[in-house]
Amino acid sequence: MAYLEDIKRIFGSERAGECEVLLSGRSALVISGHKGLSSLSDGEIVVRTKKASLRISGADLRLVQASPAEVYIAGKIRSVEYVEPTGEVGS
């Protein structure tokens, strides 16, 4: 993901953050810089990041591959949203 380096350069490292989310179409999602998984089900996968959790909703969601650096999710993705630790939904 060399282009992420470009993104950091354009937005600045403070804005870019440490977690990158790449959504390819509606069926493939790559999250790098995650901190683990919170929940795992067909309709929802919650991935922890440094400051918040990332909730991926959809149908037939599958964790294709996972490593300490990245998770690869496939399925029919409906939404990707940040969930604050208090439970609020972030932008």
Partner: protein, 373 residues
């Protein structure tokens, strides 16, 4: 890389995944079912996975390796490699159905070339298909050869082995020889033991080489019948040697005078011969001084000899001359008769010449049957 698939019974899939990810594992083909989680890891990572599963008390099932499938995919992705492997297998299979060489063993009297001719005639030489090879027929043909008692023809790999057991050589019937026992030397007969045949000499008789000692006959009242002559005859044999020592002899002795000359040869041809010495009698020695590029330089050394009349002292030289002559005499005596004899020496002077005659008398076997054995 080979991969191992795990099927773990667990309700908290996220918890288990976090534990596994926390130790740096790479999980793939993750499949979450009802109260179970399936995933694959590298074969090298499997000990760490199992350690975590055991630590947290998860029940798990270790699936088959994915290596075979991966290997198959890798092989299929290399068509040339696949083609080569298939070709090699086909070649091995095809090569196993041919015979390339043969060996003939066990024969000592039966000629190998004869056996090879049979094999060639039956088409078993060269590259031959195993199907077309009739070992039974080959065996029959080889067994029919003269001197072959048994033949075994078998295939061993790509080789035809022909083993031959030969017939034992026919023993010639005992030939009865009606030849007499004769004397092999001049002797006086001392003992005669005729085991078969009729003795024709008696103790004290003087015999010469070739004289019949035991005749091949057997005498009975109605006449004689042939019988193989056999027996032992002993006799007193005298070996003799005479040496002569004149009072004066003319010896060619070295005078000490030396003459050297050199010759030059080109490619083996003498172009500058060595000069001859000014004296007539000499010993000649040659030494090559230089040899190279066709040139040879040889030095010839002439040692002059001159005829000198030597006066011998009979008293002082007779003893040494006798010892030398005795040693020479004993060399003519057969080894089996050397220790039983006695030595006799006679000397006489006649016309300024000393004659020394040595005798060695011994009792020994004189029959021809002993000599031939």
């Amino acid at each position: 890389m080979r991969r191992v698939r795990y099927r773990v019974s667990c309700r908290r899939a996220a918890f288990l995944l976090n534990r596994l990810l926390s130790v740096g594992l790479l999980l793939s083909e993750i499949d979450r079912g009802e109260e179970k989680l399936c995933f694959s890891v590298s074969y090298l990572d499997s000990p760490r996975v199992e350690a975590i599963l055991v630590e947290y008390g998860f029940e798990y099932h270790k699936g088959g390796y994915l290596g075979a499938k991966a290997l198959l995919m890798r092989v299929l992705s290399r068509p040339f490699l696949l083609f080569s492997a298939v070709l090699a297998i086909v070649l091995v299979i095809v090569s196993q159905s041919f015979v390339y060489s043969y060996s003939v063993s066990g024969n000592r009297l039966v000629n190998t070339a004869t056996v090879e001719a049979i094999l060639r005639e039956k088409g078993a030489v060269g590259i031959v298909s195993k199907r077309s090879l009739d070992t039974a027929e080959l065996k029959k043909a080889v067994s029919a050869l003269d001197g072959v008692s048994f033949a075994s023809v078998k295939l061993e790999g790509n080789r035809l082995l022909v083993e031959i057991k030969e017939e034992l050589p026919r023993e010639s019937p005992d030939e009865v020889l009606y030849t007499p026992v004769t004397s092999i030397s001049h002797a006086v007969v001392t003992r005669i033991v005729a085991e078969n045949g009729t003795p024709v000499v008696r103790s004290g008789d003087r015999v010469s080489p070739g004289d019949v000692l035991i005749s091949p006959t057997y005498a009975f009242t109605e006449g004689e019948a042939p019988a193989p002559a056999r027996g032992e005859v002993w006799g007193l044999v005298t070996y003799e040697k005479e040496v002569i020592l004149p009072l004066f002899t003319i010896d060619r002795v070295k005078t000490g005078e030396i003459y050297r000359s050199r010759s030059l040869s080109l490619f083996g041809k003498e172009v500058a011969p060595a000069a001859l010495p000014p004296f007539g009698e000499y010993d000649l020695t040659e030494r090559v001084l230089y040899r190279g590029i066709g040139v040879t330089i040889t030095e010839k050394t002439y040692l002059r000899r001159a005829a000198v009349t030597v006066c011998h002292d009979f008293e002082s030289e007779a003893s040494a001359l006798t010892d030398t002559a005795l040693a020479d005499l004993l060399l003519t005596v057969p080894f089996y008769a050397r220790e039983r004899g006695c030595v006799g020496v006679t000397q006489k002077k006649l016309d300024n010449v000393l004659y020394i005659v040595l005798y060695y008398k011994t009792e020994q076997r004189i029959d021809s049957s002993f000599a031939s054995s």
